[in-house]
Symmetry: C2
Subunit: 295 residues, 2 copies
């Protein structure tokens, strides 16, 4: 079974008469698993997480968009979270058997469809058409309130859909990103400087691994410090390699790893290389896991 995840952010976190039909549109789509949804009144924002085969996820997302465009008027929207439109951001995350290229094609297909609904579309991250649109904050700069003026400049031309401002729905930002692994390593010391030095050493910005962001955190309750790690491309920078580097760097201060934490969810594929590396199972295939035969 091929699996893609979709995590749309919708600009309504208060009105149940708007939230419910949007959530139901996804929940009622055949072959789509709604893993989570949460509405935040302060942010005035709804975030859904669902997975399924690409076709089913596309169907669910179109249904969600129809509900959101019909029920949300951006001219009345206020909230603490930056946003550009009613269906603000739609990130696709390829989980299993879906290449990045296929996910980008899916994002573009959805973009064309949203464009046909009269809503301008920008692509970001792996779906971006220009380097300056890779980062979401850059695409969203100035927010909905500045969108009309921005669309009149060449820098504000949408990637799909009408090149004119849609006052009711704003614009939608569609992208593809790899699943993020949030993995923390706790050290048996209370010396925060050690965690910070290790974080600096393993993260991309400090000269470390390309797909790693990291910082040192004080866990006062535990009397420990933590190297808090995001791995943005586990296929290229696998979990075990980052972990072993943290362990080796800690050892030079005579500090032991007390334990690790996986925050949230991860796809099975993120741990395949862990199993291969430590057990030296060079030819191990995910297909040898019985559960994978059932998906």
């Amino acid at each position: 079974m091929r699996l893609i995840e979709c995590v749309p952010n919708i600009s309504e976190g208060r009105d149940q008469m708007v939230i419910r039909p949007i959530v139901m549109a996804v929940a009622a789509t055949a072959d789509v698993n709604l893993l989570d949804w949460s509405a935040d009144p302060d942010h005035n924002r709804l975030v859904l997480t669902y997975v399924g085969e690409p076709e089913a996820v596309m169907t669910a997302t179109q249904k969600l968009c129809r509900e959101a465009f019909a029920r949300i008027d951006m001219q009345k929207h206020k909230g603490a979270h930056p946003r550009l439109g009613a269906v603000d951001v739609i990130p696709f995350v390829p989980l299993r058997g879906v290449s990045n290229e296929e996910a980008v094609a899916l994002a573009r297909q959805l973009g064309e469809w949203i464009g046909e609904q009269g809503v301008p579309v920008y692509y970001y991250e792996d779906a971006a058409t220009r380097p300056e649109r890779r980062l979401l904050p850059d695409v969203r700069r100035g927010e909905y309130e500045a969108l009309a003026a921005r669309m009149e400049t060449p820098a504000g031309a949408p990637d799909a859909g009408p090149a004119v401002f849609n006052a009711r729905s704003g614009a939608s930002i569609i992208g593809v990103r790899f699943p993020l692994i949030a993995f923390n390593v706790n050290l048996a010391t209370s010396d925060l400087a050690i965690a910070k030095r290790i974080a600096e050493g393993i993260r991309n910005s400090g000269g470390g691994y390309r797909n790693v962001r990291a910082m040192g955190v004080d866990l006062k309750d535990k009397g420990q410090v933590q190297v808090s790690i995001d791995i943005t491309q586990y296929e290229k920078t696998p979990i075990h390699r980052v972990f072993e580097t943290v362990k080796a760097e800690a050892a030079r201060y005579g500090v032991e790893v007390a334990g690790s934490e996986l925050v949230g969810l991860a796809p099975m594929a993120a741990f395949e290389e862990t199993i291969r590396y430590y057990l030296r199972l060079h030819d191990f295939s995910a297909n040898q896991i019985i559960e994978n035969r059932l998906l």
Copy 2:
């Protein structure tokens, strides 16, 4: 999703008019996944492997039994493989969310039902009612040909069903066993004595781990030797512990582990402890793997 595996062995490996309806009975059962089936003409025996929730697996197994009892006459059966009846052996293997006790209850429920069809039933391994019936070869001793006489002795009294010989269907042997992990470790030496000594040290019969069978094997083509390992209860004797012991024992001869192999399939749960141990992910839960949310 709860998952149990069933691997029935049926006494017909030649006649497609018998094999097909039996395989189809399982394949056509809703919510059951037929992972594999193979018919061996020399053994004159059919082996199916399917998984699903306990209720669905029970339904499939009853349908399979009906077909087999209707179409197989043991009075005409010849084959190289030992057997006691038309539906010779039915092992249940709890894979996920099913305790051994629940699997035994399922085995006994099926036994009562097969008894009601007029076929005597013996329970073996974890479903056994007597210590001398734990091992399958003991239960099957003398085979179908000796069954009539054996049933007239107290040692031959069935655990369920009629206490009289059924000439057409023989008897059925139903049991519960843990999923077997077949895991081989290849050593970077051609000295078979080293593999044999390590195998002796890790296996139960040699004073090693309780749930381990192992032997040394010569891999002449590779110029390596192998410690070939069966782990019969990975929950109690986890893969990583056996692997690390092999690695440490090899090191005393200055021998490195060249690589490992997983033979066949394993449930995801067999590797959870591997991930926890090596990454020190003490609180890692299988529920954090996205795919597990979809089952």
